[in-house]
Amino acid sequence: MTALQLVGDGGMLKWIRNLLYPGVAGVMIAITLGIIDLLKSSPNAGVELLKSWGPGFLLGLLAIAVVGTFLDKVTSSWQSSVDAQQQVAVALTQLAEKDDRDRDRMVTETQYMMQRMEQTHATVAAVAAAVGRIEQRMSLKDAG
């Protein structure tokens, strides 16, 4: 495999590029996050560090701005997502509680109706027994 093949086909080069770009981006993000932390904790030291980089100073500021904006958007989006999820969870919980309350209420009412039906059944049975006894006495009298 010649160097021309490597570059021409783009096989190996493309592989290296694919590996390199995310790596460089990751390193840049890590450095930028470090600088942001430094600027937050001791602003003067952070500025001195950027100045000591020379031409990289403006690049550093740009990176901070870009990554900062990106992180803000990610954080904001993430926060919105979490808020939405919390709202959905609260709504679902309320729905489940409402369902539970309705179910409990229906269970109580059903038990009550069954108790009343049993009482009614017992009353009807008692009346039927009394009528039976009266009929029996009357038939005994008739027979007598």
Binding site: R101, D104, R105, V107, T108, E109, Q111, Y112, M113, Q115
Partner: protein, 108 residues
Amino acid sequence: MGTDVELLKQLRGSILMLVNNRHVAQQSRADHILLWRMLQDLRFSIGESELITICQDLADRGFLKYEESRDKDQHGRPTTRVSLYKLQLTPAGRDLCEGTTSNPAIYI
């Protein structure tokens, strides 16, 4: 008048039975709004204040107990409206529901 008294006795018994059923099923203690709704579901024609009066009567008789709070208006001042929470039977109320005792003023 006679019918009103009979209905009142029936209502007292029904309230005690409903509260007892929730206790037996280990459900949360009802407030008067839930009790009111259950009575309406069971076709009892009763107003909210009337229900509160009956609950107070049952408490006076020693069959029912609850926590009471006076509602407040938008300025935080107490109003005449009362709410009853955590309704539950006393041991005497449970005896009544279980048929261990009876009371001529209450139809169980």
